[in-house]
């Protein structure tokens, strides 16, 4: 809790980030409303709704990640914030979780806003809430954990972001083109239920990967990463 509070204070003390966050929340909301127009234009094709419920928030998440005020993370390394906190005996896992949660919150909230709007007009409650309270939090949470633990180990966040973006783009690709591809290769289109199952599996995979990261990372590695690279 202590660390989470400090992180949020640092993040929200950054004016550029607040502006960006407001801007993105507006963008997300606009997208939520505009999908309705799109939906009606396309003859009420539910595919478009599913796309915006499952896939689209992820691409916006990636954009948000790129706006996260990275400077303070780096100075934390340079000033040894992490080293000093860990020297008190504070648990590394708790620290990672707090930092990840601090990153998760500002990314998840605008996406959730957009989903709520879409659910509101489309009435796709099952798919909508499944994404809202399960898939999206799992995916964004895992991305946050990966990102934070990565950032503690490397002074080169640019490379790290590219890596994370790459895997996320891959997920988006599978989710969007999976059904089309399956039609072309196997001759039958995937049912929407199958797409949802794939989405669930992918988010569980992401969670597993984040879990492994948290268990693998050690204090020694973090300190050496800060000093010797």
């Amino acid at each position: 809790m202590t660390i989470l509070r400090k992180e949020l204070k640092l993040i929200y003390g950054n004016k550029v980030f607040i502006l960006m966050k407001v801007f993105f929340s507006l963008v997300y909301c606009a997208v939520g409303f505009l999908t309705k127009v799109l939906y009606e234009e396309l003859g009420s094709d539910p595919g478009i709704v599913f796309y915006f419920i499952f896939v689209y928030p992820l691409s916006l998440t990636l954009l948000m990640l790129n706006l996260y005020p990275i400077a303070q993370e780096i100075t934390e390394q340079v000033n040894g914030g992490i080293e000093n906190i860990l020297a008190t005996g504070y648990s590394l896992k708790k620290l990672l979780m707090a930092k990840s949660l601090a990153l998760f919150l500002p990314i998840y909230t605008p996406a959730a806003l957009m989903l709520l709007i879409i659910i509101g007009w489309s009435k796709y409650y099952l798919a909508g809430f499944l994404s809202l309270i399960l898939l999206l939090p799992l995916l964004i949470g895992s991305i946050a954990v990966n990102y934070i633990s990565g950032i503690l180990l490397t002074p080169n966040p640019g490379l790290l972001r590219s890596k994370i973006s790459f895997s996320a783009v891959l997920v988006i690709f599978v989710l969007t083109y999976g059904p089309v591809l399956s039609y072309q290769v196997f001759g039958y289109s995937l049912d929407r239920a199958v797409s949802i199952v794939i989405a669930i599996l992918l988010s569980l995979l992401a969670v597993f990967q984040a879990y492994r990261k948290i268990n693998k990372i050690s204090i020694e590695e973090i300190i050496m990463g800060a000093v010797y690279s």
Binding site: N79, G80, E83, A87, T88, G89, I219
Partner: protein, 235 residues
């Protein structure tokens, strides 16, 4: 006299490089123990091991202080890195640690300490505007925030002005003499340690080459002892 820290055949290797080589040391309760050695001798590595940041490759150590829920409530420290958050105020920087140590009467304690190190005027200023000396004072305040029995200081005054160095020295002597405290302080500057230490160990290339106590120090100057300890390097 009982010891607050005991090291037994402690070794640390990074890949194939041996940075600490069979260190055995006893640090008595109530001492100001100076760990002196040139840059690269292994002082910081040893201190990081004591603080649980590095794991020793072999050997063992004990620190006789009480802990609670994993938080080292009886050890204070200063490292090379200040760990201050430039965007937080002096007060907030201390409050973060007050919460980690779960102090009650957090506010009073922080105000007292800011006054003690002469930073009360800067209470609500961001740490980024402080001079280097003031930053070190703030870090010192943070190190003793929870009134620890043991202080571990890694070259706390390196690069500071003489006035502040003297102030630091006096502060630490007072801290030890007022309540039964122990201080482990590392330095590569002899003058810093000579005046206040009750015990001194000289570390060179990862080995403790000599240990002295107060009596030895009264008889010969530390400078002489230090130079003598390095003689074998020249041969």
């Amino acid at each position: 006299m009982s010891n607050i820290i005991e090291l037994q055949d402690l070794c640390k290797e990074f890949k194939d490089k041996r940075v600490l080589d069979n260190i055995s040391l006893k640090i008595p309760v109530g001492s100001i123990f100076g760990l002196i050695g040139p840059n690269g001798a292994g002082k910081t590595t040893l201190i990081r091991i004591l603080l649980g940041l590095y794991r020793p490759s072999s050997g063992s150590f004990i620190i006789n202080t009480q802990h609670k829920d994993g938080i080292k409530k009886n050890i204070g420290f200063m490292l090379h890195s200040t760990g201050l958050y430039p965007a937080l105020t002096c007060y907030e920087n201390l409050a973060l640690y007050a919460r980690i140590y779960r102090l009650d009467k957090e506010k009073e304690r922080i105000e007292d300490l800011l006054e003690l190190v002469g930073l009360q005027e800067y209470r609500d200023e961001k740490a980024q505007i402080l001079s280097k000396g003031m930053r070190q004072k703030l870090v010192l305040a943070r190190a003793i925030l929870h009134n620890p029995e043991l202080l571990i200081l890694d070259e706390p005054t390196v690069g500071l002005e003489v006035e502040i160095k003297v102030w630091f020295r006096n502060f630490i002597s007072d801290y030890v003499s007022e309540g039964k405290k122990t201080v482990l302080i590392s330095s590569h500057e002899l003058s810093e340690l000579e005046k206040i230490c009750t015990d001194i160990a000289i570390l060179r290339k990862g080995k403790i080459v000599k240990e002295y106590n107060k009596v030895d120090l009264m008889e010969t100057s530390l400078e002489e002892l230090y130079l003598k300890s390095g003689e074998s390097d020249w041969q």
